[in-house]
Point group: C2
Chain length 164, copies 2
Amino acid sequence: MVEDVVKSLGFLAMGTRMKRIGERLQADTQVLLEAMELPVGAGQCPLLAAIDMLGPLTIGELAEALGITQPAITRSVNQLADLGYLAVKPAEDDQRRRIVHLTEQGRRLVERAKAEIWPRIEAAVRDLCGGLSGPFLEQLAAVEGGLAARSLKQRSDMLKGQEP
Amino acid sequence: MVEDVVKSLGFLAMGTRMKRIGERLQADTQVLLEAMELPVGAGQCPLLAAIDMLGPLTIGELAEALGITQPAITRSVNQLADLGYLAVKPAEDDQRRRIVHLTEQGRRLVERAKAEIWPRIEAAVRDLCGGLSGPFLEQLAAVEGGLAARSLKQRSDMLKGQEP
DNA sequence: TTGTGTTATATAACGTGTTATGTAAATTCA
DNA sequence: TGAATTTACATAACACGTTATATAACACAA
């Protein structure tokens, strides 16, 4: 039985630890999706949800909405388009922009996920977080906001200035 | 300006969100390490710290201590061994086991990191989390413990049983 | 109108996790 | 004791992020 070093390192390995928890949550979510026979992976659901929520979006807008890079979006979009859930059309006002739409098949998939599947996942995660103070999502928002306001580098430089 | 969909999805995309924050923290940490000229990346620090804290460890023990898979450890260990910071020797009592040691060079690197670098990173992350209730690390521990006790699948199955 | 700088996205390469598989060593069981 | 099973790790393949770069389209200034 070995000690959990990432946990023991506290703030020093907090990024690694959050990533690890996130990956575990995604893996658990994937198990549920497979049990409920949703034919797209856990990692692709936010992308479908974004288009459902906000309507057709460009590659760049999707990257912004999901907080990942454009090449990652390009790849996911192409995968989902190959499966028939998304269609990509050039924008009318700017040939560079590509607008990503849900297909009829994609719309049906999202409707089913919203009706039967995503609420189940949300409930399980809520159950997991039930006893946490904060609540937990607000704390995540605070960390995100804190990072956006000032990077770790900026914080370190400032704290260094305060040393005796 | 596009809405942050991952944030808006709340519990549904909590895993994705935590992963995203973790990656941001790791990227920020990497910037600091480069500024301070530590010649190993942010992702390799917990591995070095584990051996420093617990003494020489097998590949499997390292995987357990860090919560990642054995092939990932094998790769990182080989990378650090190539750089001269780690040495790998077969165990005396079991030919299958490989024990990972810090070299003299590795020891010096860790001593410098512990003296000058890791505390700076820890302080910056602490500063980031300063206003959070909980505190935040305890909440992460609660999530980890909750997942270990019951998976999302188990929770979903139980909640399903409660439906009218 | 032409030249320059910026923007949007595809593509390539890389890094770092995972699962699956193979091999050797150790352990267990009949 | 020998066969079957399990364990430890290397290796291969894959998934999914990132950065860097190329190309085309667009915007703007002279």
